[in-house]
Amino acid sequence: MTAARVALLGNPNTGKTSLFNRLCGTRAKTANFPGTTTSARIGHARVDGIQSLEVLDLPGIYELGLKSPEARIVRDVLSGEDRAHYPDAVIVIVDAANLARNLVLVGELLTKGLKPIVALNMIDVAARRGWTIDASALSKRLGVPVIPMVVPRGLGVDQLRATLGQVLAKKDIGSLFSNPLANIYDPVALAESVMTGQPVADALTERLDRVLTHPVSGLLAFFAVMAGLFWTLFQLAAVPMDLIDTTFAALGSVVTTYLPAGPIRDLLANGVIGGIAGTVVFLPQICFLFFLISLLEDTGYLARAAFVMDRFLRPFGLPGHAFVPLLTSHACALPGIMAARLIPDRRDRLTTILVAPFMSCSARLPVFALLTSLLFVDNLFLAGLAFAGCFVLGAVAAFMSALLFSRTIVKGRARPMILELPSYQVPSIRNALMTARDQGLSFLKTAGTVIMAICVVMWWLSAYPKATPPAEAVALRAQAATAAPAEAEALVARADALQAREQQTQSFAGRMGRAVQPVFAPLGYDWQLTVGVLTSFIAREVFVSTMAVLASDQSGGDAKGVIAAVRDMPRDDGTPVLTRATAASTLVFFVLAMQCLPTLAVTRRETGRLRYALLQLGYMSGVAYAAALIVYQALRAAGVP
């Protein structure tokens, strides 16, 4: 046989992913099942006699007959409805420590006339609980091969490969398959007939569950675990993120130094390299987050944590599982939205994705820092309070919006909290590494390409058409040519600043700012502030650099610093651009607005629908506009300048 496909299925928490990784190693890719956002892992395994064996890792399900989307995918694959994934053989992985429950799925497969190979995993766990399972007797009763296994240690993997090779080559099949001897409709009796021993109570699980799901100690444990998770995430991700930043900055410098000035150099240095950097810089956070989440999930803790948080989040229409995505969004909404894959219910997942960008991410910090210091110039305490208030406002907006969404567009009955609490176990580093690699590649391939394209387009809008250098800048450069070196440097810097401002004003983005300004006039924004808001769609922190560039010709170069320069920026009529009322209105706008096109790209990918990305953009921008309008008009009415 030259090419074949085997499907791997089983209940959740049975070690299916570990077996997939054992069989395929790193030879795996992730794709979506047709018409769904459920990802399928497809790998290639080596089996004697088969040149190319594709292994399809199906979603974990308890029963084929369930109404969940995952069960439908499995049914479609096994029935041939999904022709692209129809398998030549099926391996069903069974948890030996939960035999009766796992045999329900095996019974369903047999009833449908399928003859799976049963991978009887976790025989070591069953033994620790006092049970011995007679695999040979089970094989006879089911009429299919049963391979005892301990997948994390590789035990039984070779036998499974050999049996699989035999099944696919249809060699001596009679010795493997026969008619079932047992009543496959009674899994409890079937399990009991092949198990011997005296069950040993799992005292450790009992004790841990009492602590970890307790209203008080469970909450404390949860915050300790989350603090540890995010501290580790930031520690681990900071170094490669800095390295990526530095490397791409150096690469940009090399291009600027060695290529002649012109559009090609600009495109490469600022558009392409900037675009790649803007994508790759998120990669460490995404990989480390999924590495850590995978470790945590493997331990069995996340199911307990979901219960602990459910009582706090459920009143807002969010599930307990939403805590990790929402907390992650404080770092960056991109990994936050991707972390929503943890949420089993599609409706809950959608609500979480839609509101996650309200959580104040790190890209907003420079904007918050600039605007709060402008709001309370002489009062650091109030500036700090306003800064903290931004985070609170973002979180309140997220929870209130979740409540609204759960009662309107993602309406439906909340799924009651029913979860299997898997046994506590030592996590698999190997699985976590594979997960991090898969998620990182998936991000680069899909969202990454879109994000890069967006960065290039936004760069182009800001860089073109090229503005003629202003007369003052030309004069300063002429003056610099004859001046002493120190003075010449200052003159050139001033000329550069003037030219940058002219470029910003004359660019497509600048022109759009002027055209759109009337829309933002009720919020107190002039054209400069409008340009700042529009360019911040590349990334929010771009607002600070845009405003700094626009303020530069009034600031006298770098003598005053960014904050002072932006504070003193005049409008065309000479009044300040950022009064207290406009600063407050802009701050509220930045807390609530969806000014992150990469986030929209990821929302579109994770929800599988463009309309949800557009809804997120429209809804958040609308809320931000309305809130900023109320703040500005209320402050003006109260006499605040």
Binding site: Y62, E63, G65, L66, K67, A97, N98, L99, A100, R101, V104, R129, V188, A191, P199, T205, E206, D209, R210, T213, P215, A303, R304, F307, D310, R311, R413, R415, P416, M417, I418, L419, E420, L421, P422, S423
Partner: protein, 84 residues
């Protein structure tokens, strides 16, 4: 003389450590199917490991967590005089 049969009660009303059998889950079809798939089906024997939020039930070696609201809608027959 035989003891009168024990009347079904809500799972949430049992004390920690109680044993019993599932009588009837008064839940929607999807939740009932999920409980069934997890092993908590009519007549299955269980042990209540923890009460409150969540309520933790053990069937065989499977531990299932259900919210208090769900536990209140699962009718069970506790072990005991006339019940076991």
């Amino acid at each position: 003389m035989s003891l009168p049969p024990v009347r079904p009660v809500a799972l949430s009303s049992l004390p920690t450590g109680a044993h019993g059998r599932v009588h009837e889950p008064l839940l929607d079809e999807e939740s009932t199917s999920l409980l069934h798939a997890l092993g908590l089906s009519v007549s299955r024997r269980f042990k209540l490991c923890k009460t409150g939020e969540p309520c933790i039930v053990q069937i065989g070696a499977t531990r299932i967590g259900v919210s208090r609201a769900v536990a209140a809608r699962i009718l069970v027959v506790p072990d005991g005089p006339g019940g076991a």
